[in-house]
């Protein structure tokens, strides 16, 4: 039943996204869940590496995958103002095409980040890339430019000196663009064909790094998008406010949708919401499910969250009660956790910025570490799962991890 729900959501999400693609930040519907079989149980800097491709510069973004194409972004230059979009062959890592832009917005950011921090999104009609400079570009899958917008040119007060990282998402023919900044601050739907505004609504003048999530019901969809203060939902069709959950905002993690329920990070924990009439009601609250910079993943019967330092907490999806919590720090505890956990085929994968991926077996009464894999490279973006492989984008390259056949 859950699979059916998930498939029906996918059909509504993107015009031609099919199961197996990883079309946006945290994959299909921002779920963080892959549907692949036979991913390798262990890997390293050379073990089970099908291919590795260097990127031109630094990136904190995640890769997206459509069919046999992988799309990544990167930024270079002494002023961080050279912006790159690359399309790679998913089987070989060969660069199929590469395009560049020059930043038209401010390039200020935290040293950990990059102007390539937002994750692209993709469907059969194109790949849509937003950069931290508010440069927004759409190419078709062969690299032909559909359109380009300088949002910093359009709305000059856009400003976030820590560096923007919220990612755009697709709904039908709309590209939903989050732009919570200290100056011009808005959420917009931009038409994917010609790049013009369909609607644009003001947002609080405050920075955040949240990526919106779609909650679809039949042919309609809500854009769930938190500010640091409140959680809000907007009708995807016209941008009108659908509901507000006051004081349930968060600055970084992204919500997940399971059926008609929203798994919403807020403050230091997570709340589960379900619709009742035109409102959302709290089902449960799990204040200890800390997620820090990462977004929790709702997988099978549980929700898994990982703190900045690497403490994994697991709660029951139906009740919010801790299934096993305050678990030992995962991995070797070398780095901080910026990449969100992802799940596939009975396992949850966590990644720290020292390059260590700790794989946790699900369905056990306690957290059981299945393997610890050291890629020896800085991982900031959330990896993608597609084509029987893990695509792990590091700060300066991308690895395809797949079992040898």
């Amino acid at each position: 039943m859950k699979l059916l729900l998930s498939l029906s959501s996918l059909l509504v999400l993107g015009s031609f996204v099919t199961a197996g693609d990883w079309p946006q930040f945290r994959g299909p519907g921002a779920s963080g869940i892959g549907e692949e079989k036979g991913l390798p149980k262990s890997w390293g800097a050379t073990e089970n590496v099908k291919w590795k491709t260097d990127l031109p510069g630094r990136s904190a973004a995640s890769p997206v995958v459509f069919g046999k194409k992988v799309f990544v972004t990167s930024a270079t230059g002494a002023k961080l103002d050279r912006l790159h979009v690359l399309c790679l062959d998913a089987d070989t890592g060969k660069i199929l095409w590469q395009r560049q832009l020059t930043a038209t917005g401010n390039t200020g950011c935290h040293p950990k980040s990059s102007m390539a921090a937002p994750t692209p999104c993709v469907n059969a009609d194109g790949v849509y890339c937003l950069f931290a400079t508010a440069d927004l570009v759409a190419y078709d899958l062969d690299g032909n430019l559909k359109w380009y917008r300088s949002l910093a040119g359009d709305y000059p007060a856009i400003s976030n000196q820590v560096g923007m990282a919220s990612s755009p998402i697709l709904w039908k023919d709309s590209l939903i663009v989050p732009m919570d900044t200290i100056g011009d601050s808005f959420l917009a739907a931009i038409d994917t064909k010609y790049g013009q505004n369909i609607w644009k609504v003001d947002r609080p003048k405050s920075i955040n790094w949240v990526t919106p999530t779609l909650r679809t019901t039949g042919d309609k969809a809500e854009v769930v998008f938190s500010s640091t203060k409140d959680a809000l939902a907007y009708n995807a069709l016209d941008g009108k406010k659908a509901w507000t959950m006051a004081n349930m905002g968060s600055g970084t993690p992204t919500a997940s949708v399971v059926g008609d329920q929203v798994i919403l990070p807020f403050g230091g924990g997570v709340v589960c919401l379900k619709p009742e009439g035109n409102e959302m009601k709290e089902v449960w609250k799990a204040p200890k499910l800390a997620s820090g910079y990462t977004s929790p993943v709702a997988y099978k019967d549980h929700v898994y969250g990982i703190s900045r330092a690497g403490t994994v907490t697991c709660v029951n999806l139906k009740t919010g009660k801790e299934a096993w919590g305050e678990a030992a720090r995962v991995g070797k505890g070398k780095g901080q956790f910026w990449a969100s956990p992802i799940a596939n085929d009975g396992f949850v994968y966590t990644f720290d910025d020292a390059g260590i991926c700790t794989v946790i077996e699900t369905g056990k009464p306690e957290g059981v570490i299945a393997s610890v894999n050291d890629l020896k490279a800085e991982i900031l973006g959330t990896p993608a799962i597609a084509n029987g492989a893990l695509y792990i984008q590091t700060a300066t390259g991308i690895f395809c991890i797949a079992a040898k056949k």
């Binding site: 359109w147 000196q161 010609y194």
Partner: protein, 375 residues
């Protein structure tokens, strides 16, 4: 004979096709250059882009040339087109014409962005290009070309010693525009016994008149135009925060980057506004880039006209963090900076400060004089 006639006809056909392509390219490029705010013109430009790229290598140079009068918005449409054309030519096994690219690069009438692309194509065609061309690009209008030229020359200079090294470092310091490279060169020159001034090299302003604090409870001062914003009168007295009497005070920054630390120069205040004022004497009317950094909310006014504002607090500060473009008039020009401090209590949110410089489009100091305003 028949083959010769056929060959000539084909040549004629190709040449006329090429001329038609070029004429068409101008129209297509005009469509692309016409893009403007909020996606206006995208539909026409998207179709033009595809047609332009389909014309292949023949339109490479018209497209590069189109950078010359393109807006930053249109330039990114052109950049993607050039990427696509370059890839298409490479896939077809056709080499780009190195001689024409080099001529384009050397023609400094062309925009720095287009010339940089030409340079990068040349490097791709021949990895030895930097050795041959960079020595001639120390004063290039392209920041990236110049930076590469300085980096290459710096590497060569490592082998020099004594007076020769000092002479070369001095030459490079005069040319440098990248802050990191300039800092490194300044250190090398200091070790060689010289006293390079990063302050004058970058056109950093150090002499200011300051006044504050004015009230900005809950950030209200940011949008409130206090008297100095309406008219600067250095002899005036104002009512400041908590009804304190405020007067303009002179301040000279001794920091190489011209940092004005308002905690020290005025006092540590929260919920406050301060103004910094200076006069700049320009020998003629000239374009100016005002490049500055500020850790909190800031506005910049040139000759009474607001050129920049950003209401962001404690998200970092760096050299050349912000840019405002304006025009200096011949004679004295009034420059006013408004700095706001909020009420955050975190230890890292206690500073209010700024630094500012005036430069040309390359980042080089302008021939202007900072003059301490007479009271």
């Amino acid at each position: 004979m028949r083959w010769l006639a056929l060959g000539l006809s084909l040549l004629l056909f190709l040449s006329s096709a090429n001329a038609a392509d070029l004429a068409n390219a101008d129209k297509l490029l005009a469509s692309i250059r016409a893009v403007s705010k909020e996606g206006t013109g995208n539909q026409e430009a998207g179709a033009a882009w595809k047609e332009l790229v389909s014309l292949g290598g023949d339109v490479l140079f018209p497209t590069l040339k189109a950078f010359d009068d393109a807006t930053p918005l249109a330039a990114n449409w052109l950049r993607s087109a050039i990427n696509a054309i370059g890839e298409k030519e490479k896939a077809a096994g056709r080499k780009l014409p190195a001689d024409k690219l080099e001529a384009f690069l050397k023609d400094t009438k062309h925009a720095p962005g287009g010339r940089r692309i030409a340079y990068e194509f040349l490097v791709e065609l021949d990895p030895k290009t930097p050795d041959r061309l960079l020595p001639g690009m120390l004063n290039d209008a392209s920041f990236e070309n110049r930076r590469d030229a300085v980096a290459a020359a710096l590497k060569k200079a490592e082998k020099l010693e004594g007076a020769e090294a000092k002479k070369e470092y001095t030459r490079l310091f005069d040319a440098v525009r990248d802050k990191g490279q300039a800092d490194a060169l300044a250190e090398l020159l200091k070790k060689a016994g010289e006293s390079p001034s990063l302050t004058s090299h970058f056109g950093v302003l150090t002499n200011w008149m300051l006044v504050g604090p004015f009230d900005s409870t809950m950030g209200t001062g940011y949008n409130k135009a206090y008297e100095p914003e309406k008219k600067v009168d250095l002899a005036a007295k104002y009512v400041g925060k908590a009804n304190a009497e405020l007067k303009w005070i002179p301040h000279t920054s001794t920091d190489p980057n011209g940092l004005v630390n308002l905690n020290k120069a005025i006092e540590k205040h929260k919920d406050s506004v301060a103004y910094a004022f200076t006069l700049v004497d320009s020998p003629k009317d000239m374009a100016v880039e005002i490049r500055f950094g500020c850790i909190s909310a800031v506005k910049v006014f040139l000759n009474g006209k607001e050129l920049f504002q950003n209401e962001e607090y404690h998200h970092g500060e760096r050299f050349d963090q912000y840019l405002a473009v304006g025009t200096l008039k011949a004679g004295k020009n009034e420059l006013l900076v408004k700095v706001c401090q909020n009420n955050q209590t975190e230890q890292w949110a206690q500073n209010w400060q700024f630094q500012l410089r005036l430069c040309d489009a390359t980042g080089g100091a302008l021939p202007v004089k900072s003059v301490l305003p007479a009271k």
